[in-house]
């Protein structure tokens, strides 16, 4: 009997009717969680989504337990309701207890995560008929999604997407500079609650449909990739939406092609996209530095380098070089005798007289504490607006330069 041929993309799309719902669910969840995850990453609370996902998992397991052992009607204790309640409770606890956590938020998030994971596994041993579903919750091995779940997810993505598109600038401001947003009178508290509520809803839906692992992955990996590529946080939200959708869909396809668990395949796909974004980001940075600046530094007022008026413009003294910030980057300018013509007194030995920063006996040289500056065919040292040239055992005054304060 010949070995079975590995599945191909043609096979996947030939069975599109079978795979459409879970693949689209992956894309929708990836897009929503990716977008929201940007705020999670920028606000340095990535563990929040992991904790919420585990809490949602516990809610799903609890709903099954209530159906099987407590006799709660199946229509009341649905897994979706359980996930929503548990994640909402966790989010509310974290939000209301924010002030009382006294800087231990990470620890408390870890506590929620551990209680969620351990509780789900413990309840799983009491509902053996649903053991497959417990694995689905924890690791995201869902291969099928019901049309009702997909419809509910699509509505959630649409509503939350609209909310976050309308309030994009507000959410970004609070994420980047919360105190600044407060001073400017933005409704910081409301925006924080809306973000927390959006996360709880997205995570509970995502965990119910895809599982905790890919949900956590979508809130961290696409945002990291987007933040690497985008020029600002607002653009990163849009980039993360696209990357999350791609990871969700392509991850499902990868799971089909290589017979992998769906959650693991989606997480690994998001990781590959992150690696690609990292490389692309490096390339963009290199190109930016190459085309505009050396070493990423931009000369300008307050840049930290001594500014010197040179003809009709201002140059900056960087590592002994006189550099001009031009449109195409740093241009090296040269200081010649004629520039320092006024007061130029080559060969005059002044022995540092009248110089407040170079006392008698001071010898100019590398590390002497004075800025070195190229001057014609040699280097001088800038002291009090004048060029000092160390010439053997004495110091020549090579004239003044116009240092810009």
């Amino acid at each position: 009997m010949p070995p079975e041929a590995p599945p191909t993309l043609r096979d996947f799309f030939a069975a599109w009717e079978l795979f459409a719902d879970p693949a689209l669910a992956g894309a929708l969840a990836g897009a929503l969680l990716g977008a929201l995850g940007v705020y999670v990453v920028v606000r340095r609370m990535v563990f929040l989504s992991a904790a919420l996902a585990q809490a949602a998992g516990l809610g799903v397991a609890g709903a099954w337990f209530a159906q099987i052992h407590v006799g709660v009607p199946a229509g009341l204790a649905t897994p979706t309701v359980g996930a929503g309640l548990a994640s909402a409770l966790a989010a509310t606890l974290m939000a209301s207890g924010e002030a009382g956590l006294k800087g231990r938020r990470d620890g408390w998030l870890g506590g929620v995560y551990l209680v969620g994971a351990a509780g789900t596994l413990a309840i799983g041993t009491r509902i053996v008929q649903e053991v497959q579903d417990i694995e689905t919750i924890l690791f995201g091995s869902a291969v099928a999604v019901s049309p009702d779940d997909l419809r509910a997810l699509a509505w959630t993505v649409g509503l939350l997407g609209a909310l976050h598109l309308v309030g994009l600038r507000g959410f970004v401001q609070v994420a980047v500079d919360e105190n600044g947003a407060r001073v400017r009178g933005l409704p910081v508290r409301l925006l924080g609650l809306l973000l927390m509520g959006s996360l709880a809803l997205a995570v509970s839906f995502g965990t119910r449909i895809l599982g905790a692992l890919p949900v956590f992955a979508f809130t961290v990996l696409p945002p990291l990739a987007a933040l690497r590529l985008a020029p600002n946080v607002g653009h990163a939200v849009l980039w993360a939406t696209l990357i999350g959708a791609l990871a969700g869909f392509a991850g499902y396809v990868a799971a089909f092609l290589w017979k992998l668990p769906v959650g693991a395949a989606q997480t690994l796909t998001a990781t590959v996209l992150l690696a690609m974004a990292w490389v692309a980001g490096k390339g963009l940075q290199w190109q930016h530095n190459r085309s505009a600046h050396r070493g990423g530094h931009i000369h300008g007022p307050g840049c930290g380098h001594v500014a010197i008026r040179h003809g009709d413009h201002v140059d900056y003294l960087d590592d002994g070089q006189l550099q001009h910030q031009g449109g195409a980057g740093h241009e090296v300018h040269h200081l010649h005798g004629h520039v320092a013509a006024a007061g130029y007194d080559h060969g005059h030995d002044h022995d540092h007289e009248g110089c407040p920063t170079a006392p008698q006996g001071h010898v100019h040289g590398p590390g002497c504490g004075h800025p070195r500056i190229a001057h014609g065919d040699h280097h001088d040292y800038l002291v009090g607006g004048r060029l000092h040239h160390q010439h053997g055992d004495h110091c020549d005054d090579h004239g003044p330069v116009d240092v810009v304060e």
């Binding site: 407060r182 946080v233 930290g304």
Partner: protein, 256 residues
């Protein structure tokens, strides 16, 4: 010990901030003796004192980020500009200079108006010009030096056309050259824009040179002193902390 010097009226302009026996602190507990002062347009108030002495707490109360513990406080400035400590802004945040400055024009629910930034483009351009960073508008935040970052944050604060500008240790990571340049810029801005300025700093020489008024706070000595720079540096609280020689040197070089 509590020392309190009434701040003399610098000019006839109405006060932007009035504090009368204002107690500041956390959770209803005052950390300093009561503060009485009035900040008016074109005044530059230097807020100084030892580390952990309550300088930032005073500023946060003025900004409305902390509620007053007791006393009277009124802020009549139509708009406030705030330059936070550098540690408050993520150094790795992806943002261009223009993105940071644009954020400064947002007010209350303006983020719901898609054309708000466009409507305020003149204010954004003025802020970029006043802080001399027009050449940097497309540059990433992560590429800027500390001095340039402070200018960007000042431009952000100015973009909202504030009447009162509050800066919390804007020069903490700068060398003396860059620090003087920032204070010279503040001095220029307060005159040209009729700004009231409150700035926290540590370099007494620079503060005394550019400030018109001073607020000295010292939690350990339980001392607060507010008024003209020359009066504050000659006050008993300052002399006790820094010595008479420093007080006389600074008193001779203040901007008032």
């Amino acid at each position: 010990m509590t020392t309190q010097t009434a701040a003399p009226v610098h000019d006839e302009a109405p006060a932007l901030v009035s504090c009368a026996a204002l107690a500041v602190g956390y959770a209803g507990k005052a950390m300093l003796p009561p503060v009485t002062l009035q900040v008016r347009p074109r005044q530059l108030w230097a807020v100084f004192g030892p580390n952990g002495s309550g300088k930032s707490t005073v500023l946060k109360t003025v900004l409305g980020l902390l509620p007053p513990v007791a006393g009277e406080f009124a802020c009549t400035a139509s708009s406030l500009g705030y330059v936070p400590q550098r540690s408050e802004i993520d150094p790795a945040i992806p943002a261009r200079v223009i993105d940071m400055v644009r954020a400064g024009v947002e007010r209350k629910w303006s983020f719901l108006d898609p054309s708000w930034t466009w409507k305020n483009r003149a204010a954004i351009d003025d802020a970029l010009g006043d802080t001399h960073i027009r050449a940097l508008v497309r540059e990433p935040w992560t590429h800027l030096s500390e001095g340039q970052k402070q200018r960007v944050l000042m431009a952000q604060a100015l973009a909202g056309n504030p009447q009162l500008l509050v800066l919390d240790e804007p020069t903490s990571a700068m060398d003396v050259h860059a620090e003087r340049a920032i204070f010279a810029l503040l001095d220029d801005l307060r005159r040209r824009r009729d700004l009231g300025v409150m700035v926290v700093g540590h370099n007494l020489g620079v503060l005394a040179r550019f400030a018109t008024h001073a607020l000295f706070v010292d939690k350990d000595q339980a001392a607060v002193d507010a008024g003209l720079v020359r009066d504050v540096v000659r006050g008993s609280a300052f002399v006790e902390r820094f010595g008479r020689g420093v007080a006389e040197h600074l008193g001779a070089s203040d901007a008032t």
